[in-house]
Symmetry: C2
Subunit: 230 residues, 2 copies
């Protein structure tokens, strides 16, 4: 491998896709997936919305750079960012830029606790179109991964508080998948997956008590394989 | 996002992990997973083995760069490379280098047809240790992904010819997982997955005829999601 001066033309950026869940303003019985985007204040794409991100610094790891730029642009600090994909098409930006994209799910309380600058807004993912660069494509890929690749455990851990009912978990799934799920089938699949564990606690209220569940942390940790944190 | 001159210190490389399957020299009834590595001819790590790879050029996409450097270093040209992960720890190379790693499975006939330079050798993955840079870690992660993330369809398509018996597919799985599998259970799981399709052809020989299967291409194509090729 010989270093060529042409390498100077290639720059490395990081971007982050953040998913959160909220009740829709139109109907509080419905949930929707929302995502923070940042209005660009300079060219290229000045005035357009883009994913939170920035340039990689020589002295920081990829995940550290994603966490820093996310915090700087949106005030968000999720406990864990997972690498999604490296986007590097030749024409994706005016200067040749490889973007390492990370993603995370955040709970509603984390999302609203973040003190965000004025140029940040949360939009429903299904209405996000016309983002800067190839960010529409990145959001489409992240949404597909959210639908297809995450297990019950990860979704519960990402979107819900520590303890939750099966009905709440099902509502999260219905929002992510965009369709209704049969409660009995859902219970069977969740219990078979061993991704969540029944606790001895119940939620009581107007209806009959509903058992509270928690995520199976052991299963979640195994999911990253032999990668050290970077 | 402001461009800083510090970006000039960061370089982008690509590397490729290639898995192939061969009968072990010690016992032809056994299979083993092998991988090509390249002996480095210059510092750093001169004389050590490393994954095939090289620097990204400003005018080529990531997957194109992986394919080019793989071809240049090993003579291999798999039909499809999948992105594995971007490795970017600060201390992984003497100069700050982000490596976008791709991977592919190749069939034994593709592996032996490649005209490789003298400094390329295929080693059993389980005996590969002490590679240059963080390549031990990359191989460990790729092996974990091979074991955990690929479905019956992809493994069949990657390692086997167009038509194969269930016994052959099971032998491939036994080699990848490093353990014996119960033939009846295996048949049930494969058939339930719909990842392979029974053909009307049979392999005949000394034993009773065995039905030949092919991979379900429709399922395989759906697996990449909305990513365009890059």
């Amino acid at each position: 491998m010989t270093q060529t001066s042409a390498q100077d033309e290639i720059r490395v950026a990081v971007s982050t896709v953040i998913f959160a869940l909220r009740r829709t303003p139109e109907d509080v019985r419905e949930w929707e997936i929302v995502m923070p985007v940042v209005k660009r204040t300079r060219d290229p794409y000045e005035g357009d919305w883009a994913l939170p991100g920035g340039w990689l610094r020589p002295d920081e790891g990829l995940a550290d750079a994603a966490a820093r730029t996310l915090r700087e642009t949106t005030g968000l600090a999720p406990s864990y960012l997972e690498q999604l994909y490296a986007f590097g098409a030749v024409d994706r930006a005016p200067g040749r830029t490889v973007s390492i994209v990370y993603w995370a799910l955040v709970r509603a309380d984390e999302a609203s606790a973040a003190v965000a600058p004025e140029n940040v807004e949360w939009f429903p993912v299904k209405r996000l179109r016309g983002l800067a660069f190839d960010h529409d494509e990145i959001v489409a890929y992240a949404s597909w991964r959210l639908q297809n690749k995450v297990g019950y455990s990860r979704i519960a851990q990402g979107f819900l508080p520590e303890l939750f009912t099966l009905a709440e978990l099902r509502e999260v799934y219905e929002a992510v998948l965009g369709k209704s799920l049969d409660p009995a089938n859902f219970r069977r699949q969740v219990e078979a997956s061993q991704a969540i564990l029944a606790t001895k606690e119940f939620r009581t209220g107007a209806h009959r008590p509903a058992r509270l569940y928690e995520t199976n942390q052991a299963l979640e940790l195994a999911d990253r394989g032999p990668l050290r944190n970077q």
